[in-house]
Symmetry: C2
Subunit: 147 residues, 2 copies
């Protein structure tokens, strides 16, 4: 096996949002419109308060994926893409923890999704305690980055 092996995914749905460009807005309300053939997989999701949304940051140009190092902001040393949450990474999969507001048929309404209108969604997972590291530490430059 090598990294030349290709993996093929199909979106489970798309983001419907007023956001046309990147930018974190934790108060933003978005909808995830799940493909109707897949919507039975949503049963029971409404029992969770928070879910992870995995999505494909489709607007990232190929050359950005190949950069590997990213600029983190003025005065900061560039770091590897895996040391940041930048969309400029080899596989631009976005991961955001969002608050679940409502599910109506195949439409999932969430708060805090950092994804632009039309973004393909790959997966939805319930948040659980194993996803939290109480004693997590990050480098001193982390709060300063401008991404």
């Amino acid at each position: 096996m090598g990294t030349s092996t290709e993996i093929t995914l199909r979106p489970i749905g798309y983001v419907k949002s007023k956001a046309r460009s990147e930018g974190v807005d934790k108060k933003r309300i978005s909808e995830i419109v799940i493909d109707e053939t897949i919507s039975p997989a949503l049963e029971g999701v409404d029992a969770f308060s928070h879910i992870f949304v995995l999505y494909w940051m489709h607007q990232v140009p190929v050359k950005e994926k190949r950069k590997l190092k990213v600029s983190l902001g003025r005065g900061l040393t560039p770091r590897g893409a895996f040391a940041s949450r930048t969309e400029k990474r080899p596989n631009p999969i976005g991961l955001t923890l969002v608050q679940l507001r409502e599910i109506r048929e195949n439409v999932v309404r969430v708060k805090g999704l950092d994804a632009v209108d039309g973004t393909p969604v790959l997966d939805i997972k319930p948040f659980e305690s194993a996803d939290f590291a109480k004693r997590a530490t990050s480098p001193e430059w982390w709060p300063e980055i401008e991404l």
Copy 2:
């Protein structure tokens, strides 16, 4: 756009572990061997104590991906795949928060990764406070599931 649009990914590396079958073991030490051409993207990752690992659960048979409903254990109502962390989901992307132990060149040593030997790895992301929902709630059946 529709869910017929295909998305193609290439693994960034592979899991090296003694685990040959599924099963959560939070104490397990595994290695992620990153493709050498991609390893510059690791620079700075060692400054974080915890990282998310996104991987492709390649052993899931196609018919399991199409099931959409999953059995959660004896005496529990089956639920949608998106209401669980089962590997039997439309896009079997695994997401595990792990403790970072050491990085040596292109090898990332981690604790608590739920992935079998040979699993293709898709992405590595630093854990940050936005990934944690302090007041998250889950359904009463959640602690009982046998997955």
